[in-house]
């Protein structure tokens, strides 16, 4: 309750400062609209369903691409940790490509896939895959070897040792990699949506870009707020509970 209160006060203060800056007319209303104008815009697009539809398109792309990234990233991370050959090939590639800002994939995606959903998906997968591979690999390397030895004495096969011991033991790393992968996927998708106008779906990024084209700052800021809110919601509803569970089980985290 106390935490909710401090959050509320903080954001209320932020809004007040914003409102004050608008009142003082440091910038023109065109560049910095009043919070009330943004609120009006959000009310309209929520009412007529534009925002929800755009959010839905974006989330569909994001979730599909991200799930592909996770489904590929975790097995590849396990493989790079297990086999020297994979480490020297896929591992090095992942390390290199992870440093590439995901927006850099957009031109390539456009040339390869054209202005299509395929291009969107490609960018999201490339954005999330590498960091998931790397943290899975890293997690496996942090597993105390004694766990695998203990499992072997209990009659676990190689396969069972990997799936039932090494994978769960590296879970704290895997989850933080998944979280990072999600953030990267989110960023790369927004970049793609802003740069690539496509006809198969009108996402949040495109809504944002559209606002820029119309010089409608209330729209730009409104959509930005929606993006932030979704990110925050996913974090609080999806990742935080998982992380809390891990901290409770492992006895780590806040002291």
């Amino acid at each position: 309750m106390k935490r909710l209160l401090s959050s509320t006060i903080f954001f209320a203060a932020l809004l007040l400062v914003w409102h004050y800056l608008v009142l003082r007319k440091y910038w023109s209303q065109v560049l910095l609209p009043d919070p009330a104008a943004v609120w009006e815009y959000l009310k309209i697009v929520v009412a007529d369903g534009t925002l929800l539809a755009a959010a839905e398109v974006t989330m569909r792309r994001l979730v599909t691409g991200y799930l592909i990234g996770v489904a590929l990233g975790i097995p590849f991370g396990l493989l790079t940790a297990r086999f020297r050959m994979m480490e020297d090939t896929v591992g090095v590639m992942a390390l290199g490509l992870q440093t590439l800002p995901s927006v850099c994939w957009v031109p390539l995606a456009l040339l390869w896939f054209g202005q299509s959903e395929g291009a969107m998906l490609f960018v999201v997968v490339m954005g999330s895959l590498w960091s998931i591979i790397i943290s899975t690999d890293n997690g496996v390397r942090h597993v105390p070897p004694i766990y695998a030895r203990a499992a072997r004495t209990m009659g676990a096969s190689q396969f069972v040792t990997w799936t039932r011991v090494i994978l769960p033991a590296s879970l704290p790393f895997v989850v933080s990699g998944m979280k990072q992968g999600w953030a990267f996927a989110w960023r790369s998708l927004m970049a793609a949506e802003i740069f690539v106008p496509i006809l198969t779906g009108f996402g949040l990024g495109q809504l944002l870009q559209y606002g820029r084209d119309l010089h409608a700052m209330d729209q730009v800021i409104g959509v930005m707020l929606a993006i932030v809110l979704i990110g925050l919601l996913v974090d609080k509803l999806l990742f935080s509970p998982v992380e809390r569970f891990l901290h409770r089980r492992w006895g780590t985290g806040r002291v």
Binding site: P144, I146, Y147, R149, A150, A151, R152, T153, M154, G155, A156, V160, R164, V165, P168, A169, L171, R248, R249, W250, G251
Partner: protein, 271 residues
Amino acid sequence: MSVQEELQSARPAKLFIDRVTKHFLTRGGKVHALEDITLQINEGDFVCLVGPSGCGKSTLLNIIAGLEKPDAGQTLMDGKPVTQPGRDRMVMFQESALFPWLDVLDNVLFGLKFKPNLTSKERREVAEFYLRLVGLEEFAHANVHELSGGMKQRAALARALAPNPRVLLMDEPFAALDALTREQLYGDIQRIWAERKKTIVFVTHNVREAVCLGNRVVLFSPHPGRVREEFTVDLPHPRDINSVELAGHASRITRALSGYVEEPGKEFGAE
């Protein structure tokens, strides 16, 4: 197989360590961890291996467990060579090696998971039986990190006992515990040994601990690791580590041991 049958203690095995040699190549050169070790361990023996650090006690235990292969020689269990780990020889490590992502009960169940011919309900009954045996029934659903050091080792003991092994291999299992907790566990392990009839090979640094638990104490000397001397301890069980008789036995062994340690009394002592 019924739970009742499963809970019958398996017949203890006899071990024959036959001229086992093991070297390690390290950056500093070749380490002679074990040199021509021969040791006969009978059914139901409680053998304590004592020796200074680096004399190959853990290596020998790992070879018996099948976790490592000797360079020469072999281990026979009831006449059959040991080639790989198996549920008939369970290991208890110095750190508990419990899995932190499982609660206590699931940790114990893990070792039963690969046992054929048991339904999941039966496995659970078996696991609960062993938790009761080590006095952890109240903590079946506790997380590993919530246990004290002593409780962790009890849970590890339950996990090692659950697959009903014929040999129990213990590598300094109580070294990290405080004296009081250790004394409780001495009582428990003696009771379990008597009840469950296991062959136990127990590695320790502590001569008194060895005398308190084992019916045989085997002294190792380092560089290269060799069996130096053997003592039989014929005091009746259960033994009290603080008894005068036991101290007498211990000092006899400590004296023998100090001959093999460069700095007597530094690493050993009757505590």
